[in-house]
Symmetry: C2
Subunit: 333 residues, 2 copies
């Protein structure tokens, strides 16, 4: 039976993908399980990706399902160095869904598309009877051109590399959770949904192949992303809890709810693993960019140890960081 | 309020697209409203398309939602001359959905993908709580390479051109309808779901730019497809009812149910508008192909008259053919 946990982006998702999908659809591109597939088109390489968005609620502080669908797919392209060329937009609508809400979401999609400079080139609309879907589900796929001549892959990670994150983690997850539960919480945090392709472009222009790879820590959060990267690279990552940027109000909310911001989804942040020599210049670049609020160097790569990710805690101890298990929050994106 | 009719592929769909989507997202590629977008990637052109599949029931005679999702998106690429390179696969699963059914659908996706020679290159899985979706919805997007040096567009249609259809119409729609309603009907018809890219390739190789354009008559059926083409081209199409291939058992079923097979969806058929000189060679090619059961030349293009499509009926009269209005059958694909 399919469980909510199968869609968490954590351990159960990973098993579903391995055992049910890859066992049947196995091919060299899909097997990479990267944010985007890399396809050869004549002399050119393109990035190709898809994501469905089922976030609940559809409107939330900082954005809505439409903006999320545009930015999320742009970010999946960007993480592989794909400069987005076009998006597709496929809607599944529930009969009876408000046309006003639909127009508001389309306004937001149009705004995000113009802001990012990425047109919606093709689309599809299906309507299902009332009760057979929840308001609106959106799928966006995307195509991007890859201009770089090296692969942004985990396999290029080496001991000594530094780990950067472009800003505060957990904002999106904490926003959806509190909004859905109608909680009164301290602070003014909101979803961080944002298109990151221009930040990626600038970082690649500055440091080229000294950047090993990018990832956007969405479902499963920063913790799951780092564990996946470390396992794939066959290394251990040592991170420092005190260096990980977390908004104070998000941290307080997580404490109230018994959650860890390291496992909450982000929709406008990236993780970069980079050669040690370029970590400072990239940090400086991010500090100047409005696309990277509170960037930080959060750790480094060492030879493979017993655990893929180890965190030095605020009180000076060390603990292993695991992938997300269980689903703290379905329909986060 | 969103109505089922908005997803029919007929008049209400067309209004929704014009008034809510194109008014906001307008750009030269999207505005074409073709089966695929055509994108320039360096020196190369690619086709890019998306479709969500919400068919009910998910298993039906002749196929299932998985096979439909693979073939449908391949066909949308092929109609624009795109030879498919890769598909994306995004699942929205309802909590509690049977893993056995999921595996059966994935088997079918794998089979269709291998048979067509088109890999699934990237994917996504979301799970929503029980009651928030109906079992499984699938989105496939696709990328294809365009090798031809002329556009397959309605604007190339000229008076004198011939109209071909690759086989019997209404099979898919009639299958879903009778299966959903649990009707006992005469005959053995089943869904015609099939990938048509190799048929398109062979037709293009044979007749080149004498082929004006292709369309796959899915939602809205043959009638809606022809009206759309004729309006876009600024011509009138004259078709002969007696020349349109319809299986006898499908026709009988339609009579019992009060439906017109011309408005029922097809998932493995194409319409081609071609220069008069090449109609016979293309018909002969199709007659030799297992991808074109009962192909036929069903009519011709004339100067624009009062109505976009006029049909000579079996009893010798003439009647105007309109676009689908109303939704005879939601969730047909």
């Amino acid at each position: 039976m399919v469980l909510l946990d199968h869609g968490s982006g954590g351990l159960a998702s990973s098993r579903l993908v391995q055992e049910i999908f890859l066992s049947r659809l196995s091919n060299p591109i899909l097997n990479e399980l990267e944010d985007s597939a890399i396809l050869d088109i004549g002399q050119q390489q393109i990035a190709f990706t898809t994501d469905s968005y089922v976030v609940d609620p559809i409107f939330f502080p900082g954005g809505d399902i439409g903006e999320l669908a545009v930015n999320g797919t742009i970010n999946d392209l960007a993480m592989k160095g794909g400069m987005p060329v076009a998006l597709s937009l496929a809607l599944i609508l529930e009969e009876g869904f408000s046309l006003d809400d639909l127009e508001r979401i389309m306004d937001s999609i149009a705004r995000a598309s113009i802001q990012a400079g990425v047109p919606v080139a093709t689309g599809d609309t299906k309507v299902v009877p009332k009760g057979k879907a929840d308001k609106i589900f959106i799928n966006t796929a995307g195509v991007g051109i890859i201009e770089i001549r090296f692969p942004l892959t985990a396999s290029r990670i080496r001991p000594g590399d530094k780990i950067l994150v472009s800003g505060t983690v957990g904002d999106h997850g904490a926003t959806i959770m509190t909004r859905r539960q109608g909680l009164e919480v301290p602070g003014q945090f909101q979803s961080d949904t944002m298109a990151l392709h221009r930040l990626v472009r600038d970082m690649l222009e500055l440091s080229g192949e000294n950047i090993r790879c990018f990832r956007d820590p969405t479902r499963g959060g920063l913790a799951t992303t780092l564990v996946e990267l470390a396992k794939k690279a066959g290394v251990t990552m040592e991170i420092a809890e005190t260096e990980i940027p977390v908004r104070k109000d998000v941290a307080q909310t997580c404490e109230i709810l018994g959650l860890d911001p390291l496992y909450l989804a982000n929709e406008g942040k990236l993780v970069a693993v980079v050669a040690p020599d370029v970590a400072d210049e990239l940090l400086a670049l991010m500090q100047e960019s409005h696309l990277a609020p509170e960037p930080a160097i959060i750790g480094r790569v060492v030879e493979q140890g017993i655990m893929p990710v180890v965190m030095e805690t605020a009180i000076g101890g060390k603990r292993a960081v695991e992938m997300l298990t269980g689903e703290p929050l379905p329909r986060i994106c």
